[in-house]
């Protein structure tokens, strides 16, 4: 068996593996599901320039055929044995995998919108998540559950982010710009549809994000309302009524809509949390893995020989994930070099 182990076959795990293989280092890549590509496969296009996500995934097309890569699909790791040198990973099916070093690229999961019951996800059919909308965009076919073209859509920002009531006080960073991207794409597909975005404040942190936001207003006539949604209800004709407060004018607001898109935030995956809990790895206050420090050791863990790549340590965009994965690969390489001497 090969020595370097990477857990997680999303883009972080793929990028780490790619770089290590490039350096001639053999890698065991472990994926719990049956397909590579992780959460990125759910997206049609990427902000801010609408690059098709398949283009990014395509970079890893030839990776599985590399003879130095041992690919373990449908394999869920349960525990790490720290008493052996190198460490040994044990899978649910009883496979033992040596790991020196181990790179954790277990990614994120989106917030379970059902926990925000008042928004009506899982209760009213017209309420969907941004992940479901992205699938519709991918198929160029946006309709309400009753097969009708929605005449008015409301995007709700910060669902499961910046919300102490659901236990997540942090900002997921990517949902604001994703909402704008999706709103523009929706408008391109359905030019007659009215689109409203309900936000707390817009965090346009990227170099070109602000332009996209202005464009959304000027060219696509997307309307932005500063205020949080308070609750959703349903009319007899299955249309939705949303209650919110417009905090710019300081008044309560009621609006009818055909569809509600919940911009679900990023959370540490249940797998990451369980894995960390059972193996004594350090978890930060927000549930993500805790790197050694926030400045020059963001890919290192508190334990010797264990590294993090990608969104296992917190919300990141695709570009940031790839860069962070490269940093993790570099840390792993220098760790191996230090060991040789």
């Amino acid at each position: 068996m090969k020595k370097i182990a990477v857990i997680g076959g999303g883009i972080a795990g793929l990028e780490v593996s790619r770089l290590l293989l490039q350096e001639g280092l053999p890698v065991t890549l472990i994926e719990k599901g049956s397909r590579l590509g992780g959460n990125l496969r759910n997206y049609a296009h990427l902000f801010p320039d609408f690059t098709p996500s398949d283009e990014i995934l395509g970079n890893y097309r030839f990776l599985p055929s590399n003879s130095d890569l041992q690919l373990l699909m449908n394999t869920q790791i349960e525990s790490i044995d720290f008493s052996t040198q190198p460490y040994t990973l044990h899978s649910k099916d009883g496979i033992a995998i040596p790991a020196d070093p181990l790179i954790i690229a277990t990614g994120y999961q989106v917030f379970d919108a059902k926990l925000k019951e008042e928004f009506g996800y899982g209760i009213y059919d017209g309420v969907i998540t941004s992940v479901e909308l992205e699938k519709m965009i991918k198929q160029h076919h946006i309709v309400t559950p009753y097969g009708k073209i929605p005449r008015r859509i409301a995007f709700i920002h910060c669902v499961g982010s910046r919300d102490a009531k659901v236990g997540n006080s942090y900002c997921s960073r990517l949902c604001c710009i994703t909402a704008i991207k999706q709103a523009i794409e929706t408008k391109k597909l359905l030019p007659e549809t009215e689109i409203f975005c309900f936000y707390i404040d817009l965090r346009m942190y990227g170099l070109t994000f602000e332009e996209l936001y202005l464009n959304a207003q000027k060219e696509y006539n997307i309307q932005f309302v500063r205020g949080r949604l308070s609750e959703t209800s349903e009319m007899i004709d299955k249309r939705l009524i949303i209650k919110a407060e417009d905090t710019l004018i300081g008044r309560p607001l009621q609006m009818k809509a055909d569809m509600l898109v919940l911009m679900v935030g990023m959370e540490a995956s249940d797998f990451s949390k369980q894995f960390a809990y059972h193996n004594g790895l350090e978890i930060g206050d927000h549930g993500f893995f805790q790197p050694l420090n926030q400045f020059n050791a963001r890919s290192k863990s508190q334990k010797e020989g264990i590294f993090f790549a990608g969104t296992s340590i917190g919300p990141m965009s695709v570009a940031e994930t790839i860069e962070h994965a490269r940093a993790a690969a570099l840390s792993a390489i220098s760790y191996l070099k230090d060991k040789e001497y």
Binding site: L115, E117, E231
Partner: protein, 606 residues
């Protein structure tokens, strides 16, 4: 032979100071009570409640029966010190009365009796002597245990004891010293005159052989007197003020005096009644979550010492676990709320929107409340139940909702809360309703305690559901779940509703019994009182509570509070539903079965 010594003066000064202080204090407290409370207190002496108060004063103030329930050793420690000392004083005086056959003697004679009476030869002197030695021995065992408790608290069933302030330590030491010094002085007396009993005579015999008794004899009595005098002077300024105050508190409580929304002398009496025993520390879930300065014992200590209380005042979930655990029965939640109201600046929000709600005529009102609006399945389930029962109900806050005022009250916003309360009261009274049904315990508590709604029965949904099951209007059906019931704080400890929800759940599922339930139920961690608590702390409380439930491996966790439901649901280890949802599911199941049996009956016919 009675010599005239001077060592009684420290004791006399201490005693006179203490009694003068207490009399002035109690008069001031009484004057500050409201007019009605004064009337209540005067009337109280004509009622039988006096006997109940007396019984409680003995049971709690002297015997410490509540502490016995927590731990036998801890109870014995408190009882030996309090009741032992009490008996020592009473029997000491009896002894002097019997000896002198008179009631006329200086009250300090009994305290130093072994000095004044070297040759007790009255009838029963030996019995008294033995009794006094025995009592002193019991007290000394209590002191020994108290010292042991500071070193090894686990033996007493406590995980934590209170951190003491320097002044309290001095008072504590002077209290602990009284009894060994008394033993020393009496033993030295016995060394000369053999006027003690089994303990002091034995020790005296040892002293006469090994120590030059004449050199330390007077000194020992001086020290004994000084230790009592010092303790009495320190008492009003230390935690031992709880000893006299608790008795006052017990009598006021039995007189029917209730805590108010503002800080008054009754609140102050309760504050002084805290003995800082530290039993509340173990009850507090925040301790496990890493918060160790907001617990009731410290919070009361901060107010007494006029320290900044902002953090401990608003950094508490007001779950009431400490109040249930408190052996003195202090109304800790009410004290905190009263202080929050005192500490809060009025809000400048406009409640103009409250004018918009419409009035309706109805028999039954259902008030869902904000939190039920945020958990729509509970609201739908209530609608399903009302439909099944064929009740016509006014969903009072369906569209334009007004808050019940409970959360504002918990935040100390009395004036704002009162505005909402007034508006809701107008709406409810104008509807002509007989029953008001609530599905949120926070609303229920607010309506019960802060509203005046004559002629209207305020019912929590679980109680209403239980009534309907009892009357046969709702079906009993086993859904085949293994369930756990979680008592919401505002419903259980807050409103003392423990049984009805359990009857309802037992009608539909197999409910498991827990150790931490009813008054000892855990808080979900999202109590609306926890205004200043960081989210991480609350999450830890939730996690620990859920970990406790998960041990029982139930299929479903049932609660009767939308806030608890929402909080526990986040954890995802166990599915969580409200008691209304359980009932609605049972109704659906029942209706389906009815339909099935009708269909089968038709099939047989055809």
């Amino acid at each position: 032979m009675i010599r005239e010594p001077n060592f009684q003066y420290p004791f006399l000064i201490g005693t006179i100071f203490l009694f003068a202080y207490l009399i002035v204090r109690i008069i001031l407290w009484y004057i500050e009570l409201s007019k009605y409370d004064k009337l209540r207190f005067i009337h109280f002496w004509k009622t039988k409640s006096v006997w109940a108060a007396l019984k409680d004063a003995i049971a709690d103030g002297l015997l410490h029966s509540s502490i016995f329930k927590k731990n036998l050793l801890l109870g014995y420690m408190h009882m030996s010190l309090a009741f032992g000392w009490f008996l020592l004083i009473v029997i000491g005086h009896l002894e002097v009365m019997v000896d002198r056959r008179s009631l006329n003697f200086p009250f300090y004679y009994a305290v130093f009796y072994r000095y004044y009476q070297p040759h007790p030869d009255f009838a029963g002197a030996r019995v008294f002597g033995a009794l006094m030695d025995l009592l002193l021995l019991i007290i000394l065992s209590g002191v020994a245990l108290a010292i042991l408790k500071r070193i090894k608290k686990q033996i007493f069933g406590m995980k934590r004891t209170t951190k003491l302030k320097p002044f309290d330590k001095i008072a504590l030491t002077s209290l602990w010293l009284i009894f060994p010094l008394r033993l020393l002085a009496e033993s030295l007396s016995a060394a000369y005159y053999h006027n003690g009993s089994f303990m002091s005579n034995t020790l005296g015999a040892w002293f006469i052989q090994n120590v030059r008794v004449s050199a330390i004899y007077d000194l020992s009595w001086w020290l004994y007197s000084c230790s009592i005098g010092f303790f009495f002077i320190a008492l009003p300024f230390s935690r031992y003020m709880h000893i006299p105050t608790e008795i006052v508190f017990i009598f006021l409580r039995h007189a029917g005096i209730m805590p108010k929304k503002y800080w008054n002398s009754y609140a102050q009496i309760q504050m002084y009644s805290c003995s800082r025993c530290g039993i509340c520390l173990d009850a507090c879930q925040l301790y496990e979550a890493g918060v160790s300065n907001v617990q009731s014992v410290y919070f009361l200590q901060y107010i007494r010492n006029n320290e900044n209380v902002d953090k401990s005042l608003f950094g508490c979930l007001i779950c009431g676990r400490c109040q249930e655990a408190c052996p003195v029965h202090i109304n800790l939640n009410d004290l905190r709320t009263a202080l929050r109201i005192k500490a809060s600046k009025p809000l400048t929000f406009s409640y103009g929107y409250t004018q918009m709600a419409l009035q309706q005529k109805t028999d039954i009102i259902y008030f869902a409340g904000c939190m039920t609006h945020l958990t729509p399945p509970i609201k739908f389930s209530m609608a399903r139940i009302f439909n099944f029962l064929g009740e016509k109900v006014w969903y009072m806050d369906e569209d334009k909702s007004i808050c019940c005022g409970g959360p504002l009250m918990l935040a100390g916003q009395y004036d704002s809360a009162s505005q909402l309360i007034q508006k809701n009261t107008e709406l409810i009274m104008a509807s002509g309703a007989k029953t008001l049904i609530l599905s949120c315990p926070i609303c229920y508590k607010a309506f019960r305690e802060d509203y005046v709604l004559p002629g209207i029965s305020i019912k929590f949904h679980a109680v209403y559901l239980n009534d309907m099951i009892r009357q046969g209007r709702l079906p009993k059906i086993n859904l085949g779940f293994k369930t756990i019931y979680h008592d919401p704080c505002a419903l259980g400890r807050g409103s003392k509703i423990y049984d009805e929800p359990r009857y309802v759940i037992d009608s539909y599922s197999q409910r498991m019994r827990l150790k931490k339930e009813k008054a000892e139920a855990l808080c979900c961690g999202a109590g609306l009182g926890g205004i200043n608590l960081p989210i991480e702390t609350k999450n830890k409380v939730t996690f620990e509570a859920m970990t406790y439930f998960a041990r029982f491996k139930p299929n479903v966790l049932i609660t009767a509070c939308p806030l608890c439901k929402k909080t526990f649901a986040r954890d995802r280890r166990i599915p969580v539903i409200d008691i209304a949802e359980l009932t609605a599911r049972a109704i659906d199941e029942y209706v389906n079965e009815q339909k099935k049996s009708v269909r089968e009956a038709r099939l047989i016919e055809s």
